[in-house]
């Protein structure tokens, strides 16, 4: 019986040692402070959005006159594996407050590409001034939720159509809005 008891003790201690080792090893790996996944080996479930703008801005409009309007489409592709929801937000980086006189209408639909918007149809998700868009929707928390698109499998696409119109307001003359960005964010749900 003593042998058995000793065995139990040994087993318990071995178990404790093993588990403790595991805990410390895991912990030290996690808390070593600088670990930030140096190997770029990102975990299996992924969320990734890309667009087809090839780095070009949708709008580079100069000499806008009252009533001038410009239409552009952009196609987003989801290449992740998790179910996500999509929110939009924006920012105006510089300029002289032209944003308040630019009316933006954003439509979510299909089909449409950066190059071709001609056959697009969809659901309008925002209409208002550019300034209002950029101050209302600033990040994921405040972003404009596009309930029309909740991608969950690789390769799903969605097109967004933007129509920007300069209002007929005398105060808009000569103003600018620069470094304006439209951002889509996908987060797993």
């Amino acid at each position: 019986m003593t042998g058995s008891l000793r065995f139990q003790l040994a087993a318990a201690i071995a178990g404790l040692a093993m588990v403790s080792g595991l805990v410390f090893q895991t912990s030290s790996a996690a808390f070593s402070g600088t670990t930030t996944n140096t190997g770029n080996s990102f975990a299996a479930g992924t969320v990734s959005l890309t667009d087809d703008d090839s780095g070009s801005a949708m709008f580079s409009l100069t000499n806008l006159k009252p009533g001038d309007s410009s239409t552009k489409c952009i196609e987003l592709t989801y290449t992740g594996s998790l179910a996500t929801s999509i929110k939009m937000y924006g920012a105006i980086g510089g300029g002289t407050s032209l944003g308040q006189y630019l009316t933006v209408t954003i439509t979510s639909g299909t089909p449409g590409t950066f190059a071709d918007c001609s056959t697009f149809s969809g659901t309008q998700i925002y209409t208002g001034t550019l300034a209002n868009f950029a101050t209302t929707y600033t990040n994921w928390a405040t972003g404009l939720d596009d309930a029309n698109w909740t991608p969950n499998t690789n390769g799903q696409t969605r097109a967004y159509k933007f129509v920007v119109t300069l209002q007929d307001n005398n105060s808009a003359q000569g103003l600018t809005a620069t470094s304006t960005s439209f951002t889509w964010e996908a987060q797993n749900t």
Partner: protein, 471 residues
């Protein structure tokens, strides 16, 4: 129905070795489970750390889903990049996230990022959102909680089953050879007790405690070194039973079953499992014509045997059963109880780490045009009385819709629209002049659409008594 008795020793030896291996695995498993739980419970109780079960793999590979992060309460100190913090997600109130700090903002916020995420979290985390700082990671022990929260009940049930199975495997002396017919119901009186001494029944069973279908709890072994008395050779209370109908009504005892004590092969030293079962009991009915080796005695207190149950052979002494129950409870608290412990401090908030990705169209620029003013504004009095001629050079904004002529009686204010002209017109004659003693002021602007007008940085005025059309 075949007589097995000692002849089955060899095949059973192999089976028993399998059982031993199984028991060893069960022992290791439960041992592991308990110590993992201890690593959660001790810091929780002793240091006030909060266990958080990680729900997703965004902190992989160092923290995986199912790991429990023990977090120490955050006391408002400045945190350096590299720390793992648990915070109330500013991007989605109510969601608890554990990510690593990667930077600090000048406004006292922290930038955070999941190790497995490509990008940093999009919303900066204010210090007041931080709930705690990660201190310890206990791997995998939170999986049951996660399964519970994600309502993946099959997994949860499977896990519980494996715990129960492990406990069951550690149960002592499972009678393995029971191929005789329906057991004889033990007589209810002591008088029928045969003279032959029963096989090593050390003490009368009190109340057999057992769950149907579950091997009776073994003298508990896992992890805790419990001194166990030598396992009493379990006496077959009644008789061998047919495998299937555990609760079949016992047939009247016709043939006294026979009990053989079979000594199991001694397990190797390394597998020297504690306490119990080096004994197994097998009982077979005597073969026709052979004398029973040891007729089974009726149990001393048959009333203790569950009525109608044919499982009397697996009775264990009461204290062992109790110990067993304690162990069972221990194991369950180590598992499920831990689940509760993990869940409660987390306030039921799903401990979610988020994966996300953004794409942006940047560098959009918009510039509004400006209507250029007219210039070289001139005024002259025509020969016809009471008229004033105005002339100007065109605005350089060729896209103008036209011109608007304003007139006022003061130099700087009170202008009213006098006329709207097409864009090609460069002169205008004011024929609404009524007095030569009044000075009229004029401005000419280019206009576009409705509201756009060029600035009017020039104005001209008529000289007094210019027109001479009355006073």
């Amino acid at each position: 129905m075949t007589a097995q008795s000692a002849t089955t020793a060899a095949p059973r030896g192999a089976a028993d070795r399998l059982v031993l291996v199984g028991r060893f695995a069960a022992l290791a498993y439960l041992n592991f489970l308990v110590w993992l739980s201890v690593w959660v419970l001790v810091p929780m109780l002793a240091l006030g750390w909060t266990p958080m079960a990680v729900e997703s793999g965004s902190m992989g590979p160092v923290i995986r889903a199912g790991d429990v992060v023990m977090i120490a309460p955050y006391r408002g100190e400045m945190l350096k990049p590299g720390k793992i913090v648990t915070f109330d997600d500013p991007a989605e109130p109510g969601r608890i996230v554990t990510h690593r700090i990667t930077g600090t903002g000048e406004d006292g916020t922290y930038q955070t990022k999941g190790d497995a995420n490509q990008d940093a979290d999009s919303t900066p985390v204010p210090a007041e959102n931080i709930q705690g700082v990660g201190r310890l990671i206990v791997p995998r022990v939170g999986l049951p909680v996660i399964w519970l929260q994600q309502q993946r009940y099959p997994l949860l049930a499977g896990w519980m089953l494996s715990v129960l199975l492990a406990i069951g495997l550690l149960a002592p002396s499972k009678p393995t050879a029971q191929s005789s017919p329906a057991p004889a119901r033990p007589p209810r009186t002591r008088r029928s007790r045969p003279a032959v001494a029963p096989v090593a029944r050390t003490r009368p069973a009190r109340r057999p405690r057992r769950a149907p279908g579950l091997p009776l709890p073994a003298p508990p072994v896992f992890a805790l070194p419990l001194p166990l008395p030598p396992a009493p050779a379990v006496a077959a209370a009644a008789a061998p039973i047919p495998a299937a109908p555990a609760f079949a009504p016992p047939a009247p005892a016709t043939v006294p079953p026979v009990i053989y004590r079979v000594r199991l092969p001694q397990p190797p030293a390394a597998l020297d499992l504690p306490a119990p079962p080096r004994w197994t009991v097998s009982a077979v009915p005597p073969a026709p014509g052979t004398a029973p080796v040891a007729p089974i005695p009726p149990p001393p207190r048959p009333a203790a045997v569950r009525r109608g149950s044919a499982l009397g052979a697996r009775e264990v002494p009461g204290w062992s059963g109790r110990l067993h129950a304690i162990l069972l409870v221990l194991a369950l608290t180590a598992g499920l109880g831990l689940a509760g412990a993990v869940q409660a401090p987390a306030a039921l908030a799903a401990f979610t780490s988020t994966r996300w990705s953004t794409v942006a169209n940047t560098g959009n620029a918009f510039t509004a045009d400006r209507l250029q003013p007219t210039s070289n504004l001139t005024i002259s009095a025509p020969l016809i009385a009471c008229r004033i001629n105005i002339g100007w050079s065109h605005s350089s904004s060729a896209w103008r819709d036209g011109y608007r002529v304003y007139r006022a009686l003061n130099a700087d204010s009170g202008y009213t629209l006098l006329a709207t002209l097409v864009s090609t017109q460069g002169t205008y004659t004011d024929d609404t002049v009524t007095s030569s003693t009044i000075t009229y002021y004029y401005r000419v602007v280019a206009y576009e659409a409705v509201n756009w007008e060029s600035v009017s940085n020039e104005e001209v005025h008529s000289a007094p008594s210019l027109a001479g059309c009355g006073s």
